[in-house]
């Protein structure tokens, strides 16, 4: 297992947080001229590994060497000096500065100690052109860019440092498919130039397509490194979760038990418009049905879910709940109308990270557990306990801060707080993003159970396989409207892709 000719080499590296072991006795090396994929569930230690490599964290034990010389980074800038550059999952851009400022933030061209803005602008244009983003004006403020463009600026920033080791942590998760292709091309070129790329992603296809070496991590340990093609996909998954998985998705009901002719659907949307992002959305979700929202990023899915949950102002069109007209004026009003939303970003929109698990679960539930203005402690404790049991949240004490949980368990808390209200309509905005395989399966099963219990579920996901596996029907959105409904036989990956690009299935075939 010991490799000696690595550009960067870790030997026996461990990292502890208090009593928790995040990384345990890891040997790892990365080589020039390769794209090296790192796989593992959440909490497997991938993030800790790259934070140690890039100088954000220090190792508690063990040695790290670069070019054969021992190093001990205390800050990211020390790692950058050695050519190790990381593109983090959490964007490292400052929104109020311009694109050019951000690309050269830590090492701008200077003239007499002051930043040379013209030279900086020129250099920014060059770097942006390298990643085919010439359309981005270097003077634009980053806050005015879309998430996908920001991620590309992030990549430009990393490239501008001429890295020898480039680490991409879920760097493609926010990109549009066009930009993903650009990044693939860029990585291949960097590999040819002798750069060592470390690539972390939860998307198996991406890893398969791109990487020539793969390393699997589990529970803070380096399980195995192998070259692409050595193991099959299911063998890799087995290594990641340490056990066999029988079925990826829970079975769908064979015959659709939703009778579309009898009675009104649980949720019916007619001609919903908002600003220039929603352009007349028609959609309905019956009780007991999981309806997926598919399509490319930025086609109005997020806005649709926010509009249904009363977050957007000035929405035109009709929303009906069980045949009754309903105006989503605020999340509070929607909560009363038995609608729930699991938002896109659990860390900033779903949870109060510093508050306890119990406080987070109870937050929407206080009216239900109070007598008059006073909370009934027994009923509150009961709700918390039921939530933890129902979603199998792994914790010993509901009183601890939710930020101590892993990503998957945090997401379960977000879902749990809404399920305790027993909502009839459940809106899910990419609930499995950045979550490990095991938890994903639990969430799929939960969704199906809820549907079987008569709930209406509207489910947005960026993962087509997930949509096909979970949903009874998928509505594909393009440019602010639903362009196609797919179900049963017609629900295939090809159909979703062609509908996403708004080309007819016949044309694509």
């Amino acid at each position: 297992m010991t490799e000696t000719n690595g550009l960067v080499q870790l030997r026996g590296v461990s990292r502890y947080f208090g009593g928790i072991t995040a990384l345990k006795d890891v040997d790892f090396s990365c080589h020039p001229g390769s794209v090296h994929g790192i796989l593992g569930e959440n909490g497997a230690g991938k993030s800790t590994l790259i934070k140690i490599l890039s100088g954000v964290l220090e190792a508690s034990e063990g040695r790290m060497s670069v070019d054969g010389n021992d190093v001990a980074y205390r800050t990211p800038s020390q790692a950058t000096k050695d050519g190790i550059v990381c593109i983090f999952q959490e964007l490292s851009l400052t929104p109020d500065l311009s694109v050019a400022d951000n690309i050269f933030i830590d090492n701008p061209p200077r003239w007499m100690g002051m930043i040379d803005r013209r030279a900086q602008r020129r250099m920014a244009i060059d770097v942006l052109a390298r990643i085919k983003c010439a359309d981005v004006d270097p003077d634009t403020l980053v806050r005015d860019l879309s998430l996908s463009r920001r991620q590309m600026v992030e990549i430009a920033k990393a490239i501008s440092k001429n890295p020898r080791v480039l680490i991409l942590d879920e760097a493609t998760s926010a990109l549009t498919s066009r930009d993903v292709q650009t990044v693939y091309g860029l990585l291949n070129k960097l590999r040819d130039d002798g750069v060592s790329c470390l690539f972390i992603s939860h998307r198996m296809q991406e890893v398969e397509a791109l990487c020539d070496r793969l390393s699997v991590f589990r529970n803070g340990q380096h399980i195995r490194t192998f070259t692409k093609g050595e193991l099959s996909e299911s063998e890799i998954v087995k290594l990641m979760i340490g056990r066999d998985i029988t079925a990826h998705y829970p079975p769908k009901p064979t015959a659709p038990h939703v009778d579309h002719d009898a009675g009104a659907p649980a949720l019916k949307i007619t001609n919903l418009t908002w600003e220039n992002r929603l352009k007349g959305v028609d959609l309905d979700v019956g009780a007991g049905e999981i309806v997926g929202l598919g399509g490319l990023d930025g086609q109005g899915h997020k806005e649709l879910l926010l509009a249904l949950f009363g977050v957007l102002k000035g929405v035109q069109g009709q929303v009906e709940l069980n045949g009754q007209p309903f105006r989503p004026l605020s999340p509070a009003a929607c909560k009363k109308a038995s609608i729930a939303l699991v938002p896109e970003d659990r860390k900033t929109e779903g949870l109060m990270l510093q508050l306890s698990i119990a406080d987070n679960i109870l937050l929407p539930n206080y009216p239900g557990v109070s007598r008059g203005p006073l909370v009934d402690p027994a009923r509150a404790a009961d709700v918390v306990q039921r939530a933890i049991t129902k979603l199998q949240i792994k914790t010993s004490d509901p009183g601890i801060a939710v930020e101590t949980l892993s990503g998957g368990n945090q997401q379960k808390v977000v879902i749990a707080k809404w399920l305790m209200l027993d909502p009839d309509v459940i809106l899910l905005n990419d609930p499995t993003r950045g979550i490990d395989v095991g938890t994903k399966q639990e969430i799929y099963r939960l969704m199906r159970d809820l549907a079987n219990a008569g709930k209406a579920i509207l489910f947005y996901s960026t993962d087509y396989a997930e949509l096909i596996g979970c949903c009874d029907r998928v509505s594909v959105m393009y440019d602010g409207a639903v362009v196609r409904d797919l179900s049963g036989e017609t629900l295939t990956e090809e159909a979703i892709v062609s509908a996403s690009l708004n080309i007819h299935a016949g044309d694509a075939a």
């Binding site: 950058t80 977050v311 957007l312």
Partner: protein, 347 residues
């Protein structure tokens, strides 16, 4: 060209609004003034605006970080009392006294920065406490108002350029032809522009200066990008101490005395925050600049000048000041009603 100007105005919305507001207030003040525009009144106005101008610049820099410095008024007062002892004697002694005053003020700011960075105490609370310490020191240095500032210096720095030339005997006692175009400009205006703008604009262009903006915009991103976060924070508070002591020094020269007045210190601190906000700097950090704050301070000052020329009951001054402040920030806040996605409000 027009397009460029348009984007510039839109991107600096707060600043443009502040500038427009200041010009409206100032021009109508001059028009309403019974004696019309006169150098004497202009000089007097400039004199009374220097201290608050410096303190507003001082406050801006920690605010850009996303913090606040509640000690700026107190540091100004401390510098004021120190200057009232030191700025006297021979010209060389006076210059050394001024330098010492500014050094002590900057050192106090440095201490604020060190406490915030290495003590990990929130700026607002740390500076609340160090502000009390500064006031205590000021009271020890000057238990009752007084002091001995060189009268020539006072005269030279609180009047027009001509008077300064006359006092110090350069440019043919102020009669040289080349001096005439600027002879009537008030010296205090030149001081604040030269020191304020001359220090601020280059500083903003350094990596440390830009790091301050980056921290205010997103501290995590600044750290991840390998920026010198600790150094920038310490620099920001040190600069605040420097500018606050500039204000105190000028106040000492202007009033020829030092006065450790607690309520005055508090008023300067609060007015500095108001000036920063009026000048278009976001209290959340990352957006704005010292020039805007200077204009904000100007707005606050012009409002108080109105009471001299209009027959408004001076008792109403705090009421009007408060209403103008609330009105100005409320106007700026009207955009919240145009926000269509409520989540944007919480960022």
């Amino acid at each position: 060209m027009i397009d460029k100007l348009r984007t510039l105005v839109l991107r600096n919305g707060g600043f443009s609004a502040a500038l427009a507001m200041f010009l409206v207030f100032f021009i109508s003040y001059q028009m309403l003034h019974p004696r019309g525009f006169s150098t004497a009144v202009f000089i007097q106005n400039a004199n009374e605006s220097v201290a608050i101008g410096f303190v507003a610049i001082a406050q801006t820099i920690p605010v850009l970080l996303g913090g606040l410095d509640l000690s700026v008024g107190a540091v100004m007062t401390l510098a004021n009392t120190i200057a009232s002892h030191l700025v006297t004697g021979t010209p060389l002694q006076m210059v050394l006294g001024m330098i010492a005053t500014l050094l002590i003020g900057s050192a106090f700011g440095l201490m604020n920065g060190l406490i915030v960075v290495y003590g990990r105490i929130q700026p607002i609370i740390a500076t609340l406490a160090t502000g009390a310490i500064a006031i205590g020191l000021a009271l020890l240095i000057r238990p009752s108002p007084g002091g001995e500032i060189d009268p020539d210096l006072n005269w030279a720095l609180t009047n027009a350029v001509f008077d300064m030339a006359e006092t110090f005997g350069f440019a043919d006692n102020g009669n040289a032809a080349w001096l005439q175009p600027i002879a009537n400009i008030p010296v205090p205006l030149i001081i604040i522009l030269v020191v304020g703008v001359g220090v601020w604009l280059p500083f903003k262009r350094t990596v440390t200066g830009r790091t301050i903006y980056a921290i205010g915009s997103s501290e995590g991103a600044a750290y991840m990008s390998g920026l010198p976060v600790a150094r920038a924070k310490i620099a920001a508070f040190t600069m605040a101490g420097f500018f606050a002591s500039c204000g105190g020094l000028y106040l000492a020269i202007q009033t020829s005395s030092g006065n450790a007045d607690i309520s005055q210190a508090g008023a300067y601190t609060l007015n500095s925050i108001a000036a920063v906000v009026l000048g278009g700097t976001s209290l959340l950090g990352g957006i704005g600049g010292a020039i805007g704050s200077l204009i904000g301070a100007g707005i606050l000052r012009v409002i108080s000048f109105y009471f001299r020329i209009l027959s408004i009951d001076p008792l109403l001054q705090p009421l009007i000041e408060g209403l103008v402040l609330l009105g100005a920030v409320s106007l700026g806040a009207l955009r919240t009603f145009r926000v269509k996605n409520m989540m944007e409000l919480f960022r």
